[in-house]
Symmetry: C2
Subunit: 251 residues, 2 copies
Amino acid sequence: MIKVAIVGTGTVSKHLQQEFAATQVVEVTAVLQSRDETRSDSLKELEANKQDKRADMYIIAVSDDAIAKVSEQFSNTEKLVVHTSGSVAMHVLPTGIRRGVFYPLQTFSKDRAVDFQAVPICVEAENKEDLVLLKRLGAAVSQTVYEISSEQRKSLHLGAVFVNNFTNHMYQIGHGICEQNDVPFDILKPLIKETSAKIDSLEPLKAQTGPAKRGDEKTIENQLGQLTNVTHKEVYRILTKSIKETYGKEL
Amino acid sequence: MIKVAIVGTGTVSKHLQQEFAATQVVEVTAVLQSRDETRSDSLKELEANKQDKRADMYIIAVSDDAIAKVSEQFSNTEKLVVHTSGSVAMHVLPTGIRRGVFYPLQTFSKDRAVDFQAVPICVEAENKEDLVLLKRLGAAVSQTVYEISSEQRKSLHLGAVFVNNFTNHMYQIGHGICEQNDVPFDILKPLIKETSAKIDSLEPLKAQTGPAKRGDEKTIENQLGQLTNVTHKEVYRILTKSIKETYGKEL
């Protein structure tokens, strides 16, 4: 049995609690509150609870900015201490202790179930035994566990901003255009699904279509004229430019 | 039986031929070649074939730019003439004839099968009987048929550029970042799937996450520093600005 204490009570913490509870090999010995790391009562509670001797490791699942501060509480522990962030380096955790990262690469929403078995877990640790432990922990809840350095994780997180955050913004602009012109956004949903399904069989470089790829200036000019939001016009322009550059078109 | 002659031999034509052939209610009476509308032999062939009296309608499935030119060949027909484009208005077809549009809103690739039943068909026609005919034709191959005006179709097509073409470019930038930093793009695929699956339960405005949404300037600056491609930096900047504006953040 791997015994973990989870620090934090946000969305990632809740998903981890739930997933670990459903396994036969992981036990959550404690969930330590540290929602607001500036509140002294919350820190005191953390102080008391971290004496919990049962846990093999502490999983710090708090917001990126709070990781350094919250983890200071664990600067004397002999247990493994990991955080769950995509963008924070491992060395932000206190020096001199056993450090690691347990990063589930997925977008978690409060109200939406996630198939955790399909979520890639990126693990990192300073020593070999801890890496083995984190791989076992990952394998208990997911089919794919990757050993990823802090440097690689930073790149993955940047990639994730493009394929997730920025893509969702594309959906949002599309949604707005539909609303403004009184057509149901539902009509675009099968296209959205097909665009993402395609990545399994066709790499994005080969899947590109559309006026920018074709260099179809007439359509580009017409569509720029259709857009009423100045920033969305800029978005259209720079993405068109970026696609053209990708395919070596003259600008 | 609805009898159609299809003009053009590209990807959309091939998909339509295949889908119509699989139904019990549509017969493709002819496929007329017009791949290069400037070649006189191709036009002559078209001229000869368009005398085909069996078809109830001509479906002009050629590139956007060629629609006007190719459809001139049908300026004297008594049959219904439709094109299949998202961005071309119905009135581009010759005046004085029965005109319409049969636009399957999906991204078609040569080498990839598409579940046509899930593809929304947007139809438009000048007279009521033709609209009924196009709706029947659509229902023969798809579960969803929408009556959409030329103006609305233009908006849908613009929306499609954002949710499909630009989204695929986001995947492509993400793919490049992974390659450059020696991490497998596969790690991002479950995230891509979840981002698109979310639109069924959560509208994009509510699904937005990430540094731009949070106004997390530290991460934004770090990530801009990570990008080596100048145009991709611009893309990151303008999309961050656009997301901030959407959520009313100070710039």
